[in-house]
Homo-oligomer: 121 residues x 2
């Protein structure tokens, strides 16, 4: 978080910690979730492009249809690892995956959510 913003928030009565504080963590957490959602969408897109069912993809990656469904909906029980493994198994290149990971989709709601996450001091 920028120092100017932090000062403003503190002046408004918000409790803002240091380095490992709530906000920073939630920032990282949010980015992680966004990455997962982006990867999940790619899994679904690639599968549909290949015209195969979740069942078939499941077999391809040695898993089950239900887990593939969770993968594509970015369920909280799925790891980054499995998402990437799935993409690789469908033939995605590291460059493609890197592009997804590195491309931030601008979201308008971000700010509102962030404010909610703050703790009134």
């Amino acid at each position: 978080m920028k120092a100017s913003k932090k000062k403003k928030l503190e002046a408004a009565g918000w409790k803002v910690g240091s380095a490992a504080d709530f906000l920073e963590l939630s920032d990282a957490e949010e980015m992680l979730v966004n990455m997962k959602v982006a990867l999940a969408k790619k899994v679904k897109a690639m599968r549909q492009e290949k015209k195969i069912t979740q069942q078939q993809l499941a077999k391809l990656i040695g898993s089950s249809q239900s887990r593939v469904a969770k993968l594509e909906t970015a369920d909280r029980s799925v790891s980054m690892e499995l998402l990437i493994r799935s993409l690789l198994s469908m033939g995605a290149t590291r460059a493609q995956i890197g592009s997804i990971v590195g491309t931030r989709k601008t979201k308008k709601v971000a700010k509102a959510k962030k404010k909610k996450a703050l703790v009134k001091g």
Copy 2:
């Protein structure tokens, strides 16, 4: 795997399956490992650039020195998730991480390892 290469291998007496075969999986696995190693190196590089100890980084990400050590050596017990989370906690951008994920480091040993992984038919 390219069709030409597959044909060659089969002619030489190697058993080569289809889509979900051993080779493809081990390819994905190898890429995954390579990604992890690249991310691990970045964790170490960023930490050293910030001139902080593993202990301090551990505190920053809510972990322990031993786990940070494993992180930086790409121990098999560390997940992609934790690697990325650590980078984000140190202030890495999605673009930076995406670049690491997407950049393949050419390795000469790859071919030899691949041949070893084949199953004589």
